[in-house]
Symmetry: C2
Subunit: 447 residues, 2 copies
């Protein structure tokens, strides 16, 4: 079978450009409007996307003046979208630092059942003190500790999803026997972060496990991805960087004892489309003109962990920024932003303009042919198994991508022309249904 692209639609509010909400076409109340998201999901499904995705964090991003804040809780929203769609995968972000495994495993299991096997979990450890302070902590746990907890969380969740064998329900009405208790496997887990004794109160789900997605690109993040992730979202600015990340992650996956084909790498791309290059650039400029730069400076200072008032809008970044290892927040994003500014010798103003579009993801303004060409190049040159499509403006940017870029990818044989039969999300991504760990010898289990 020819290798084909996977496309994920990253849905966020009125779009990934921070100024998108200010455009005349945008609804500033879209952040909590189910109808808006139903419309987006249906556009993505018309474009035969593999999946759609919602980012999340359990805190209110300050400050409200700058741009839309708050969102429907992702698993809730995706459940509603499950009933409005038929084929597309539904990937929700949820934190291993601020949830308990029993509740979260059950919620993903429930979404998987309700959607007929279309649930995916973007596993995050949640950086930032704001979130920590909403859950009884004074400060965020250290980076390494967050990842240690995440790994144990995953182990428990996998046990819970395997705690019913597929055929545990006997349903023998005549004998009065509903289930076979010998096919229930309580985790009886006692670990560093969690103790979970009992079996899940949901049967084994269509996919076995939801599709496991990960997006941290730090060293801890990559190690975690190599061990557990089946799809990885990543921010890469150049083909060479993307190739290096791709090679590294596939090699790590192999070393972790897994098939490198079983982790799909999807860099983010913010397409800004125009029927000519000049039109696309004009669309990009229009968005940049709507950026409120004071806000951008404040956010950049926060990301770089600098005191307020340090940065000058028309100057460069300070030369003496600390190394990534000294940063406790979103490590790989920190490095990406600093390297972007240095590589391209950007002023703070220019950097904010570049980040405004996709927060570190690759923004690409061009014609549909150019965007399809870039996608094709990265895909064929070992930089990507697919893409995380992050339209600058929603719904119009997604609509334009589906109307104009997808047909080119299809003509070139790079992307499916139809969904065909109903499939689970993991089948769509070419991944096997995991065997139940309680039925599989340990030697096979780690293969």
């Amino acid at each position: 079978m020819t290798r084909t692209l996977h496309l994920n639609a990253f849905l966020m509010n009125t779009g990934h450009h921070e100024a998108s909400w200010r455009l005349p076409e945008s609804d500033p109340h879209a952040h909590v409007d189910l109808a808006h998201y139903v419309r987006l999901a249906r556009i993505a499904e018309r474009g035969t996307f593999d999946s759609l995705f919602l980012a999340d964090g359990p805190q209110l991003w300050s400050n409200l003046a700058q741009r839309p804040a708050g969102a429907l809780e992702p698993l809730t929203l995706l459940t509603a979208l499950a009933t409005a769609t038929e084929h597309i995968g539904l990937i929700a972000t949820a934190s291993t630092s601020y949830n308990s495994p029993y509740n979260l495993a059950r919620r993903f299991a429930s979404l998987d059942i309700v959607s007929g096997g279309r649930a995916g979990w973007n596993i995050v450890t949640t950086a930032g003190a704001e979130a920590a302070r909403n859950f009884g902590l004074e400060a965020e746990p250290a980076h390494a500790e967050r990842y240690a907890r995440a790994a144990e969380f995953l182990e428990v969740a996998l046990k819970l999803w395997d705690s019913w064998e597929d055929d545990a329900v006997v349903a023998d009405k005549a004998a009065g026997v509903w289930g076979d208790d010998s096919k229930i496997h309580p985790p009886r887990h006692r670990g560093t972060y969690f103790s979970v004794a009992g079996a899940l109160n949901v049967p084994r789900i269509p996919q076995g496990y939801p599709l496991l997605v990960q997006a941290g690109s730090s060293d801890d993040g990559r190690a975690f991805a190599a061990r557990y992730a089946e799809a990885v979202f990543t921010a890469q600015q150049t083909l060479a960087d993307a190739q290096a990340f791709y090679r590294d992650l596939k090699a790590r996956t192999l070393r972790a004892g897994r098939d490198p084909e079983h982790v799909k790498v999807l860099p983010g791309i913010v397409p800004v489309l125009g029927s000519t290059e000049a039109e696309a650039r004009a669309a990009e400029r229009l968005l940049e003109d709507h950026i409120v730069y004071d806000h951008g400076v404040a956010r950049l200072e926060s990301l770089l962990q600098l005191p307020a008032g340090t940065l000058e809008l028309d100057g460069p970044l300070p030369a003496d920024l600390p190394p990534e290892s000294a940063v406790e927040g979103a490590k790989s994003r920190y490095t990406l932003v600093v390297e972007l500014a240095r590589r391209e010798r950007l002023t703070v103003r220019q950097l904010i303009g570049r980040l405004g579009g996709g927060r570190g993801h690759l923004t690409f303004a061009g014609t549909p042919e150019q965007v399809a060409g870039q996608i094709g190049t990265w895909f064929t040159e070992g930089a990507a198994d697919g893409f995380n499509i992050m339209p600058a403006v929603l719904p119009s940017g997604l609509e334009a991508f589906v109307e104009h870029v997808v047909p080119i990818l299809r003509r070139r044989g790079l992307f499916r022309t139809e969904y065909g039969a109903r499939r689970t999300l993991r089948e769509r991504y070419g991944l096997p249904r995991p065997a139940n760990q309680y039925l599989t010898p340990a030697s096979v289990r780690s293969a």
Copy 2:
């Protein structure tokens, strides 16, 4: 306005009778079938019910052989049902012992938005060691401690739901100002059980708060209900008991500084319908004939906290059972069961037969006229503001109630004939939208 009944449909699997799954008409996989629940919700909506309700606990009820176990997580299922219905309220059970206020407040807020103001929360503290052991505890917290945590949980949740003023979103595109940060009120809560600093990341919801429901009838439970609940589910076996409970709860609500009209009391009733009395009794016997009594004995021993093998099927309950105060589990249920057995001098077998129908709720087998008559009597004689309808078999029992009992209640002017305009769940129950605590003087707040 004439006082009219409120009706809630308590949906559970193939029905509230423990043997319902064994009937030829029942689907033993209904427990995780969205289509089954969509069908039930639409029947209830056809019957212009105020709301539907899902019970829950974060553990797998042992043991599987006896009867269907496991269920879709209630907020997930209700979100899916929200998209399949238009008017009916959606009440989910969720535990204050095994959730964090930030996450749970957000999920109810999200359901309220997605459903257009139809979310309700049945607040439970979750008895039992099984649940505790799924969340890192060795044993269940003491009854009083569970309620102390529940009260603080509520205080935090109310702060979170009030943390956005209704008009916090300004949406001034020209000025580039999306929200007004002065209208955001971070809880900054530091208490015994919880510390929650930041505002919720969802705007204030259509209902202000979801409808707050409670079902514990112990002394702690009633005190909690008097302080917070807007609807109370309760199990009462006789008119006199139900009247005493009703009077007590309304008096406590008044003493707590609230309007007794603002808490609606809904006893549970398990109607078993037949077109004649004899037919109804035959339907009831058919269900009893499907009970597996060994299972019932084991469950009864567990509820009464007796060693296995203590009870004899054709003997009475032991005379020397401990008082309710010595019991750590579901206190009011314990007393109800013991009193039922003693009042009616039931053998263990007979008691199991009675409990099999509704686990302590009033089972009433009769014609539609008789069931409607019983409902009318309790409603007019100060025992109920409405009923929690718990069909023995689902969907057929709900269908029969809607087809045959609801029309009688309507003809007698006791129940609505149509929904009319779209309303929120709390409007449906005749309750006001709560004022935002950050905008209201304290003296008004407690009134």
